[in-house]
């Protein structure tokens, strides 16, 4: 790990004033420490924002939910209002990593963590995302890679909470020296075809200062499947939000994790549910539609039947119906 300066920021202003082009903000430090130890990141300065007061709160009113960027995943998981009204978000937070990591990891950090692609994480490979010219996953060991938008860079986005947050139309409040802006999370995450070197629109010197989720009557559910239930990244995860009018779905929002380099909105699946009854058949049709345009690589076509199963089941669960399965 490289040598670096350490600056403790006590306010957002101070954090923004302390940051340079070669700096990193440090919240929980979970992913950042990994990146530095593996030689992927070598910031000359860490601006510690962990102790800025007021950024670690969750508040709820009739407009919706406001989550500070320093809120931990454990706080999300355990917050009664989140559990009650934003169930998919609480469920997603509870399934990330380990209790120890969830105690340290923050919402902001989880959203902007770097991908887990083993080529990106290995110092032995100078891949396209790191400034090289090749995506080694294309003709390499691509078991865990993307099945959509995967030709430039086949990472999957690693954030577990991004999946339900996008499904719930969450927005990021971004603060820079020049002021604040608010961006829909769906626009916040970007494709490698836009800029392969990053996963979101955050500019150097910008800080996420809140995540806002609009109030909604929609019913939500989230499901993650890894290869094992404890301490594993998803092979596939899905968040479903269903706005219901009587027994009909008026608006469905279905977002896939583990599928693309960003939380992937399955619009074809949503279309199958909008203005439809939620039944085993419509759920199956939606799940199949979600996978219709998948472009798997050599070793990850197995994700397709998995998505087909968990999308269908999660739609049914969001609608309050039962769906049998074995957790992993």
């Amino acid at each position: 790990m490289n040598r670096f300066d350490w600056v403790n920021a006590n306010s957002v202003d101070q954090a923004l004033a302390s940051v340079t082009d070669e700096s990193s903000f440090k919240a929980g430090g979970v992913d950042l420490l990994d990146l530095m130890k593996d030689g992927i990141a070598s910031p000359s300065r860490l601006v510690n924002i962990r102790q800025i007061s007021g950024l670690d709160q969750i508040s709820e009113d009739d407009k919706g939910l406001r989550i500070g960027p320093l809120v931990t995943l454990t706080q999300i998981e355990e917050h009664p209002a989140v559990q009650k009204t934003y169930a998919a978000l609480s469920e997603a937070a509870s399934r990330i990593a380990t209790p120890q990591i969830r105690n340290m990891a923050t919402v902001g950090g989880n959203l902007v963590q770097r991908p887990r692609c083993w080529y990106f994480r290995s110092e032995d490979f100078h891949c396209r995302k790191k400034g090289g010219t090749h995506c080694f996953a294309q003709d390499g060991e691509n078991d865990y890679h993307a099945i959509f938008d995967n030709r430039v860079c086949a990472i999957i986005h690693p954030s577990g909470i991004a999946v339900p947050l996008v499904a719930m139309n969450g927005r990021a409040e971004i603060t820079a020296k020049k002021g604040k802006r608010e961006v829909a999370l769906e626009e916040f995450f970007t494709s490698p075809t836009h800029d392969v070197h990053r996963e979101n629109i955050l500019e150097p010197g910008e800080l996420i200062t809140a995540i806002v989720v609009p109030a909604s009557e929609a019913r939500t559910a989230y499901y993650k499947q890894g290869e094992k239930e404890s301490f594993d990244w998803p092979i596939a995860d899905v968040a479903v939000s269903l706005a219901m009018q009587g027994s009909r779905c008026s608006k469905a929002s279905i977002v896939l994790g583990g599928a693309a380099p960003y939380p992937y909105r399955a619009k074809a699946a949503e279309a199958k549910l909008n203005n439809s009854e939620i039944t085993e058949d419509s759920a199956r049709a939606a799940a199949d539609a979600a996978m219709a345009n998948a472009t798997p690589l050599e070793k990850n076509a197995y994700k397709i039947p998995i998505f087909e199963a968990i999308v269908r089941r999660t739609i049914l669960r969001a609608a309050g119906m039962k769906a049998e399965g074995v957790a992993a």
Binding site: R116, W118, F125, G140, A309, G325, V326
Partner: protein, 832 residues
Amino acid sequence: MPVQEQSQQSKDVKGGTKGEPKPVQRSRDKDQAKKATPAQPASHDMKVRSGIVSAAAQQDAITEVTRSVPAGEPDQLANNDELKFIGKRITRLDGPAKTTGRARYTSDVYLPGMLYGAMITSTMPHARIRSIDVTKAKAYPGVKGVYILQHLSDMAEVKDKSKEMASKYPIVRFAGQPIGGIAATSQAAANEAVKLIKIDYEQLAFVTSVEDARRPDAPLVYPAPAAMAATAGGGGGEEDVPQKGNVRGPARSRRGGPHGDLEKGFSEADAVVEGDYRTQVQTHCSLETHGVVADWKPEMLTVYASTQGTSTVRDEMAEVFGIPKAKVRVITEYMGGGFGAKFGAGNFGVTAAALSKQTGAPVKMMLSRKQEQLSSGNRPDARIHMKIGAKKDGTLTAMQLVSYGTAGVGTGAGTAGPTQNMYKCANVHTEEYDVFTNAGPAAAMRAPGHPQGAFALEQAVDELAEKLGMDPLEFRDKNDEHPARREERRIGAELSGWSQRHKAGADSGPVKRGLGMAQAVWYRIADVGASAEVRIGRDGSVEFMSSVQDIGGGIRTVLAQVVAEELGLQPRDITMKIGDTTYPPGPPSGGSQTTNSITPSARNAAYKAKRMLLEEIAPGLNVSADDLVMSEGKVFAKDNPSVSLSFKQAAARMKTDDVSATAKRGEDYKEAGGGRGRFITYGGVQFAQVAVDTETGVIKVEKVWAVHDCGRPMNPLLLENQINGGVLQGISYALYEDRVIDRNYGYVLNPNLEQYKVIGSRETPEIKVHVVENILGLSSTDAGGIGEPAKIPTAAAVANAVYNATGVRVRQLPMRPATMLAALGKVKGMTA
């Protein structure tokens, strides 16, 4: 008879099979073994009990036999239900030290003036090093020493040195291969300095998979036939096998090895099954990585080592540096897991000692997790072709196994053990091939070759039974003569509700449940030179001393139980001094031999020391020493209630400051009248219940019933710990673990504990352990071993349960969702 007896012919009781630990004569203390053998003490005939306590089958129950027992050894112990401490659930003596963090592991050792080491490793999978420039690294602030290895251990070497490629430095044959090390005043400085080492590589073509390496035009990992020296933990294949290209084999002449006429056997069969099975490379994943603190002083090299063999590390250090063993001291107070990979000095250990010698300061060298995953050993993968046949009545007539596997740049990928040693069959033929690849070398790993071999064999046996319309247990009863396994099948069937088992694939709905079973075979291995000392002080204190190390099984506690039982004291009364080569040499903990090897030495030493004490004090009490008994903290005369002293009072009557006795284990008791030594195996039968999600491919193991034998169970609590661990490591092997190498560039992609996936708490099933008390009557404690048998059958039992659940055979490990879905025909373009 409670033991399986087989012909001694073509069996090598001491050498072990390929990849198994080679006990004392082979590997450890050659001089000492020589000394021990000719000095056979006089022996006498003794009647001993032998058999399974409360066996259901009459022929397996306890009977009395006569054995030849060396003079000076105590009578056979009673059965466990009549003993005070042996066979009882005594909690670990060092439990509080471990749980409070007071227990000092090698990682916790800090010596005054100690430097921190970091290894320099190869960044190429195959290369000749032209030059190494250490100038910048040496100049880095805090750096005190740089050492470049001139010779590497723990991997194969070209046998005829003249045929090795000309090179100033050892040829690099895998990415992550040790090159040397740096010592600095901080870990950070050492790590940074490593990055400043400039190595000029001439890259060579490489190959990383068994399939590619077998091609006629494959790049050669070694330019000429190569072999790997065995360590105490095994590793390394047989020496005299042919090699063509990267393929070394066939190894044929092995314990239980080929016999009969295969063609005839298959022609006699009414049903034959055959299939191809694949298993993956598994790494040891010890929580404490390999490492040492080496302190080179002119008078003594002291090495704190995370090892499962204090004496084997001492021997290798002495050999490498050309110093007498007496000038090497190895200390292992506590160690965090070995599983077969931690016997030798290691390239890192040699580097640390050389750096300590160079700098005059102690050097700590702990491998990083990445280095641990790349270079410290693994279980080889396997491609096994298995074919077996039987008559209508279930009698096995022929068994054939051909396996190819890669131990990377090492050897020892054989898998034939279970096929050769589990079932009675007149016609057996096995061929095992090691395939060299440019990947980290294998090391012995918990039952080398056997989980692989059992995965193929036990599925094939189930398949054949089904083809014949027989229940898998009935089929095994017919072909398996091992008495303990017979009892274990009966118990496991009862516990698991086997009679209620449904037909394969009978569940409706997407989630299907199934029950399956599989068996283990492992070998009774002992270090006959294992030595221990018991000292009783005039103040009533008792010390136990042996260099034996606790690999984690809890031998410290078991030995205290044994000494306490003999002296009539409490286990906590015994001061346990182990894990230090200053004490009499104990066994290396490999081959499941620790308890079998060292508990008889402990009991014999305690018995001798007791006799010495009693003989000293008997005259003063006007009784014969033979009439005195030690029990419940007292010394009293059998028939004279007026003679009764506390242990302390008795000790105070000694004329000298202490009495002390050292005893070696010696060989297993022979048949009276000078019978031959026997080849004895342990059994072990496991039953598993699984749930399979046939839409997502997720397999979850819900329950495991593990029924085992290991001679006399010495401490059921610790045994259950080890069996639980074996089952968990077995499930982890069955479903999750897999070392992944990028086929295009030759780098391991998951050298960590994140993407190399190890079982976690949510994958832990309910495990019910049952241990059969099998009194063998072959040593003064009747103890055996359990570490390895506990892991052997798990993956096979899970696979058989998956078949029972789904009606689909998965012949590939790990059975991850992708594999299961492919086997179910649900993935386009993929099969399994």
